[in-house]
């Protein structure tokens, strides 16, 4: 008799109770075991009262989102990683219906109008997804392709693109980076030339997350010949327009479940009213949301690092070497203690920056520091933990090897480490004077 989906959790309960007995005895190691007997992150406080930025509603939000992750996402992650894509429309619709795609977006367009601390709570909880690709894809939808539209787009534009994106009916992607321009955004070459009531767009974009499935792209293009920081505009472009070519799905080291595309624009015509806000302000609009993008990425990775450390503790506790658990060797438990300490430091920085930000402060410096540390610490956590998993860590059967691959992107995408360092130096006034 087929069981309704909601019964999955109760079934998982039965399986997890049995698996716990097996894993501790026979040392059976596979991803599915760990889904059921997932360890509790040590730093989650029991009550909302003491938390720096979270209230009871934040915790209720996390709990509900966690259920969706446990029932609709995690059971399929292994399969999606193997297939190199995930069903974005299906998953975004589930998340959108539950209100998780428009947390800090305007109420008039299906959002909840809450402050950024709720977005951070969502991002933290998404870190419980057993891969990096899907949280990243969701993050693009909620905090990279849509913030500028929400803030500066016309009512008509928001109706056409923002509302369905928040509801989960349309999948969005972001077109900023190009083959020849990543960190150096000002040197992008994609052009949008005005011809009457339309823009004619030529060029291409690279590293487009959700690119093969997206309904529309938030495109940054040169719309005039003015100075490079003042000649770019953001345009909402349906992906079905003639001239839009999805050239290829990029084969990557990690983030396999997230489809990443290279897209070309060949004389694509789009109405001028599809421009977000003012012409020439595109670069500025994008920059305004960097703080949120970066803190969002940090919230994600902090949870993932917690989980990897916990799983490593679980594994090394039952894996014996020279007659005692691997965990009991001081080099192992001391190193894990070091890593956990740094994770907590990063978490504190995240909450501090978020608290300041929701009060209206500019937290560019702290957000850049957090992103920098996030990327680097994730590499350390991945590398050290993988070592303690030994041979098993080197297989595809365990989460740590996937984390090792997926988390490497954090130092590169969303603002490379070097860009973060440059920003911090600017604030420290240590850059060479012109």
């Amino acid at each position: 008799m087929a069981l309704p989906k909601g019964a999955l959790r109760l079934n998982q309960l039965v399986i997890s109770r049995r698996f716990n007995q097996f894993t501790s005895r026979a040392g059976v190691r596979s991803l599915s075991d760990h889904v059921s007997s997932r360890p509790v992150p040590p730093s989650a406080p029991e009550t909302a009262g003491d938390h720096l930025i979270y209230t009871q509603e934040h915790f209720a939000l996390k709990e509900s989102l966690r259920k969706i992750i446990d029932q609709e996402i995690n059971p399929h992650v292994d399969q999606w990683e193997a297939e190199g894509t995930f069903p974005a429309h299906k998953i975004f619709k589930i998340l959108g219906s539950a209100g998780f795609l428009g947390v800090n977006k305007p109420v008039e367009y299906g959002g909840l109008g809450l402050d950024f601390s709720y977005s951070v709570a969502v991002s933290e909880e998404l870190g419980n997804i057993r891969c990096g690709g899907i949280p990243m894809a969701i993050g693009v939808q909620t905090d990279m392709a849509t913030p500028a539209l929400a803030r500066f787009g016309s009512a008509e534009l928001k109706e056409e693109f923002l509302l369905p994106s928040i509801l989960g009916d349309k999948v969005a992607c972001l077109g900023v980076s190009e083959v020849g321009a990543g960190s150096d955004v000002s040197s992008i070459l994609t052009k949008a030339v005005r011809k009457g009531d339309e823009y004619v767009i030529n060029g291409g974009k690279m590293w487009t997350t959700n690119g093969t499935q997206a309904d529309w792209i938030c495109l940054l293009a040169n719309t005039s010949d003015a100075a490079p920081h003042r000649n770019k505009s953001l345009i909402c472009l349906p992906m079905t327009l003639p001239g839009v070519h999805i050239a290829r799905k990029i084969d990557k080291l990690g983030m396999w479940s997230s489809d990443t595309a290279e897209v070309f624009f060949d004389d694509v015509r789009v109405p001028c009213k599809n421009i977000i806000g003012q012409e020439g302000m595109g670069f500025t609009y994008q920059m305004l949301q960097f703080q949120e993008e970066r803190l969002w990425a940090v919230a994600n990775i902090v949870t993932m690092m917690d989980n990897i450390i916990q799983e490593t503790i679980q594994y090394t506790r039952q894996r014996k070497i020279f007659k005692q658990p691997v965990l009991y060797h001081q080099s192992v438990n001391f190193r894990l203690a070091e890593l956990q300490t740094e994770v907590e430091l990063l978490r504190s920085l995240l909450y501090r920056a978020t608290a300041l930000y929701i009060k209206g402060n500019d937290v560019t410096k702290l957000a850049s520091m957090a992103k920098l540390k996030g990327g680097r610490l994730a590499r350390e956590v991945g590398d050290s933990c993988l070592q303690y998993w030994g041979g098993m860590g080197f297989t595809s059967d365990v989460l740590v090897s996937r984390f090792y691959r997926d988390s490497r992107l954090l130092s590169i995408g969303g603002g490379a480490d070097e860009v973060m360092l440059g920003i911090i130096c600017k604030y420290m006034d240590t850059l060479p004077k012109k």
Binding site: L3, P4, K5, G6, A7, R9, L10, Q12, L13, S16, N20, Q21, F22, S24, R25, S36, S37, R38, P39, V40, P42, A44, E46, T47, Q56, E57, F59, A60, L61, E63, S64, K67, I68, D70, S97, A98, G99, F100, V103, L112, L114
Partner: protein, 254 residues
Amino acid sequence: MSGRVLVGVKRVIDYAVKIRVKPDNSGVVTDGVKHSMNPFCEIAVEEAVKMKEKKLIKEVVAVSCGPQQAQETIRTALAMGADRGIHVEVTGKDYDMLGPLQVSKIMAALAKKEDAQLIILGKQAIDGDCNQTGQMTAALLDWPQGTFASEVSLEGDTVKVVREIDGGLETIKINTPAVLTADLRLNTPRYATLPNIMKAKKKKIAKVKPADLGLDMTSRLEVLRVDEPPQRLAGVKVETVDDLVAKLKETGRL
């Protein structure tokens, strides 16, 4: 009929947590451990909310017994669509020994106080696995019970309940007021959506003590010792069917 449904929701250790016994064998470790609403209670809440959406009943009241944290469980029920909550404050030793008898006394007293038309509970909690509270509540109230419900249809003053029993499915018709207990296949609980979570903030949770209801929480049971289940021993492989029969005879199984 009042059109009011009481739903009991219990705060239990989350189903995915690996349970650990306390070193002094007096119980299981609960400090700092993730807790959530009992899965069968979620199904009970869902059923009540569905009845309200179909306009078969007017109000869903979520009830939980325990310390301050029980309010989180009530909030989850509110976020799923319950209208208000009642937190029956039970703490300390009374809470440690809180069992079906005490809870059913509480539910019976509240049902009378709130003039409830229906009480819906989960069939059992995943920590105690007692499967007694629904039945005891019905007995205390002298109300009919529809337990292990996999399908419920409210028809005027009666309820049709399809029950999951060993032999298959049994359909009964009982009069209201009645007690129902939810089984696995009754429904699929909805996700508490973020808009509803935020709306739940404004819903009221009344706090009451068992003494206010004139109830005695003393337990008739005493926990002597809690141990982990025995470790599963390694099996033995045999070569032939004859060996197998011999082994079974040897261990007295045959």
